[in-house]
Symmetry: C2
Subunit: 430 residues, 2 copies
């Protein structure tokens, strides 16, 4: 007879229900692959009386974490509550009680990953989190395993489907930001409170996880410079196209000697690059290794089914180890002590869009400020003269310049009386 | 003191030298990750007196397989000789002698994978082959692990960089096939005898490996319908563009109920699809799973460094298992008995290019033949009248039709006196 491996599920929202359904619907094929039956034993849900589409045995539903983590029949705890608290405490308690843990929680792993992995190691249990970044796109295990021989030099990634959907609508349909956001909310791609997505915080959590793996160094979310997409306007996309670029919210991690750059912000990228072609709610992660070269992983970065794909894969890995009698626990490899480069020292090219008085000499003044700050211009277009307001739009692309110099120059340009407004400035990569 | 794990290397060509270099140059970081030193003990090379750029201790070089596989200090054998014989026999002997094996050999794995994996299981050793498909692109382990919970419905893949380079040059530079091939040879992308690449045989080996993993069924190379790229002409690319398509050599595996379609041939794919945008020597593999949805993996499909990335990753996995005292061996999961659908029953859309007499009624005759065979036309263009030869070109796109009916119709069209030549016909996907 086949051994049972007991599963405790924390959370029965969209992802939790998806996981429960897959465990039920694919029971026999999963058992065959695991070498044991994966049996849902306990499900933690705040309101266990709430009517729900997914039918579960009532005795399975519990509303106290202790009932899950002290159940000797539970071998693996799946955490899909999301958010920092109480998920972090629950995971900790589960590990301390000797349970293997599979989580989809980017915030907890980004903030407490090292602590939890060390705890898991101490308690001889596994902690897996494939679903926390890119959902069903294999990323954590490729970094841990397939790319292990590589020195990673850079990650460029579209890690947030919500903002990528919004930017795609702005670019392709000419919708302005608020309208594109509203559409994303109506389609269920964006939350009622979209701050985490549109401010780049969600992407920063995921970048912290990936860059810790890639560079074997402890990266915290607060190490990552973070700028959202709400400042972008349709005209920026129009100018980007004119210069041969697309605009994407990228999460970027680059290694330069003993330092790493870590940042999430809108970026001009060449329109013929792989990432420029990623549209809608899709995610894509470009990794550059010294051996493998440039790799791109592309897929759905959210949704109950893609998350279940990654979560169940993690469960299967743990189940196989249990069946083989292997005490597998995560190896914590944060032996590199890399410094995070301050944002002011970053060097990139820039796009500026300025609203200026439509008078002779204005470009000369702006060029002088840039020149005085050692910023050289690669191209400039002046257009959209408005005869009523007597203003014009100047768009400038620069050669690589240091962030510090650029910010200083922008401050000085803002003081010029002929400059009505610095409408936008966006960094350029590639 | 750290344990030594001994490596035996079979073959010291481009890939073998790359692997030896990485083992030497990254020794300390690999040791840290493996938990043991990975030490090259023996290198099998036909001519051990040949001068070479890579300096190895002379006593390491041997020219008899027995010296590698009977060496008690060798734990893992890396096979990078390539080709069917003697690589197959060597792998078999290594396994029988209780050595773990890592191979990059697509031909051997495609033809004898099941046999070798079963043998490895019997001898309690591991057999890993991540480098055999897509080189440094993680594929084998994502299929075995990350996608394990998915029912895979389809694979569409660009698996041969040489042909993709040739097709890119034909499409972008308007080079004809023989010139593009010559260029690929000069750049070292194509062999002096390019048959395996341009006939699609190389891609078929790789598809056999991937589809065995995806569908848990034994797929042999001879199960795969295979058609190369040498029939393609520059005008086909021009018409493809006119219709909004790109032409790629795709390896396709699709599951339809209890049957699978397996084929490698040139395909029209929509120019805005992810695969259409893969240019040059790059590979890309699109996988469709019921949970993960559509995933695409993109990267360099060849070269010494990308191959080393995959090979060393496999070595690290085995080394970690040895260090943990785990007897890991491959689980052979070919429990699905799926039937390969005969090519004549495949249903796709078609592109035809015909050279016809420039006279009234010719299109009517052709349309009648198609209609009689239940093939309906979705669009047609007639152009390039040649006043001297009094011929014209007719290009037809059809709705989905059965291969059998299409071949019958083409036979009948060939008999029409007004049709000078069926210049080409290419299947259309997506």
């Amino acid at each position: 007879m086949m051994k049972d491996i007991g599963i405790g599920l924390l959370g029965l929202g969209t992802v939790g229900s998806g996981v429960a359904r897959v465990l039920r619907d694919k029971a026999s094929s999963l058992a065959e692959q695991a070498g044991a039956s994966l049996v849902l034993k306990k499900v933690l849900e705040r309101d266990i009386t709430k009517p729900r589409a997914l039918k579960l045995e009532p005795r399975m539903l519990v509303n106290h974490i202790e009932e899950v983590i002290t159940d000797p029949k539970v071998d693996i705890v799946i955490e899909v509550i999301g958010g920092e608290h109480p998920a972090f405490e629950y995971i900790k308690q589960a590990i301390t009680n000797g349970k293997h843990v599979v989580t989809a929680n980017k915030e907890v792993i980004a903030k407490y990953g090292y602590e939890l992995l060390s705890l898991a190691q101490k308690h001889n249990v596994d902690l897996r989190y494939e679903a926390s970044v890119g959902s069903g796109i294999p990323l954590i295990s490729p970094f841990q395993q397939d790319l292990a021989a590589n020195d990673i030099s850079a990650i460029y990634a579209i890690l947030n489907g919500t903002t990528n959907y919004i930017l795609t609508q702005m670019s392709q349909e000419g919708l302005d930001f608020s309208l594109a956001l509203k559409q994303a909310q109506e389609l269920g791609y964006a939350e009622a409170n979209p701050a985490n997505d549109i401010e780049g915080i969600d992407a920063a959590y995921k970048l912290a996880i990936l860059s810790s793996l890639a560079f074997h160094t402890a990266v915290k979310p607060q190490d990552i410079y973070c700028e959202g997409v709400s400042r972008l306007q349709v005209s920026d996309f129009r100018y980007a196209k004119e210069f041969g670029y697309a605009i994407k919210l990228l999460a970027i991690a680059k290694r330069v000697d003993k330092a790493i750059e870590l940042r999430v912000h809108p970026v001009f990228i060449p329109e013929d690059s792989q990432l420029a072609k990623v549209n809608g709610v899709y995610n894509a992660i470009q990794v550059e290794g010294d051996l493998a070269g440039k790799l791109v992983f592309y897929g759905q970065g959210a949704g109950a089914l893609p998350a279940s794909s990654a979560i169940i894969a993690d469960v299967l890995t743990i189940a196989r180890n249990i069946c083989h009698g292997v005490t597998s626990y995560p190896k914590v490899e944060l032996n590199q002590k890399l410094v995070v480069k301050p944002m002011t020292n970053i060097k990139t090219r820039y796009y500026f869009r300025l609203n200026v008085a439509d008078r002779p000499g204005v470009l000369a003044q702006i060029s002088k400020v840039l020149g005085d700050n050692s910023i050289s211009i690669s191209s400039v277009i002046q257009k959209e003269s408005n005869p009523i307001s007597q203003t014009a739009v100047i768009v400038i692309m620069t050669h690589p310049a240091e962030e510090k110099a650029v910010q200083k120059a922008l401050g000085e340009i803002r003081q010029l009386t002929m400059v009505k407004e610095i409408s936008n400035f966006i960094r350029v990569e590639g």
